[in-house]
Amino acid sequence: MLIGFGVLITPQVQSVDGKFSRALVSVSQGLIRMCGGHVARDGAILRAPGGFAVEMRDGCNAVNVTILLCAAILAFPASWRMKAAGLLAGIAIIQVVNIIRFITLFYLGQYSTTWFDFAHAYLWESLIMLDTMVVFWYWVTRVLRAGAAPHAEA
């Protein structure tokens, strides 16, 4: 986990992190337009026609919870196949939830900045952490069912 966060804050990885954020914002823009919404994008910033804009910065792209999930899965005694499946599925689920989070924050911010601050900094962050824990729990259950898990007698 420390290695993951240590690498994340290096300038080289931060530039990749920025590109990843822009890609997520682009996906969010595409989804909003697909559902009939009006939105403009400027790099990692989504702009509403009314003037409200929201930027996906470092920490908003769910990379931090992804690192936590990766650390938990990699540290868990399971086969590499199970770990790879858990990582792929887990990261995909977290990113889907994060895009939902970003889009809801985009609309919430147009309605109320107070609610936006609360949901952005506290509520959604906690919900994503809860999702991450539940994703890990699901994965552990699958590992146990597959018989690839440790048990007390071992």
Partner: protein, 219 residues
Amino acid sequence: MPKLKPQTRFLMRGSALLVGLLSLWWFLLLSPMLYMLKGAAGVFLPIQENASGDWTLRVPLERTLPATPQQPVAQQIHSIDFDMPRGDATAFTFSLPVYWAIILAAPGVRRNLRPLLVGTAVMAAVELAMLLVFAEISARNTAAQLAGGGGDVVAGWARLLGGYLLATVLPYATPFVVALSLHRGLREEIFPWSNVAEAPAPPPPVDRAQRRRAKKRRP
């Protein structure tokens, strides 16, 4: 109605409790919790609250700042003052309602009281410790900037990592770690083999002769 999986039940209950308890915290508990945090942190560091609600912390730090073209004489400093916006201080109170939500969402209502009480005390201590470490890191960052920004690269990286973890990871992750550590029921649900070591020992095996004798004695 089909029975939900324990993970789904936990996710639904946890999400609802997070919305409820974080709203309660945001609208009612935040100010008293900030007041208590300021009081507790004030035992270790002098803290002043401005009219806007922002804090000014004074962190004791002995440093000799080297001479620079602007300041030709080396300077000895004993402490560093820095401002902490109210929003930043708020982050050191929010782990508590998150912890309550996790514990109350965990299976077994009767088993929740003890971890709720013990965990509340643990979380309060952890939040205080996080605030103090954050203040120390911020003071050291300021001292490094005053010294010209150079210095130990590894120490700078460690401060950056510490600040990042304290701002964006630990306040969110700590309640989950503490809940798993203190709530046996939740731990056993996620790691089912963890209860085997704590379970009472099984009765010793009975041999066939003993079983036969016991059968004969029965009417």
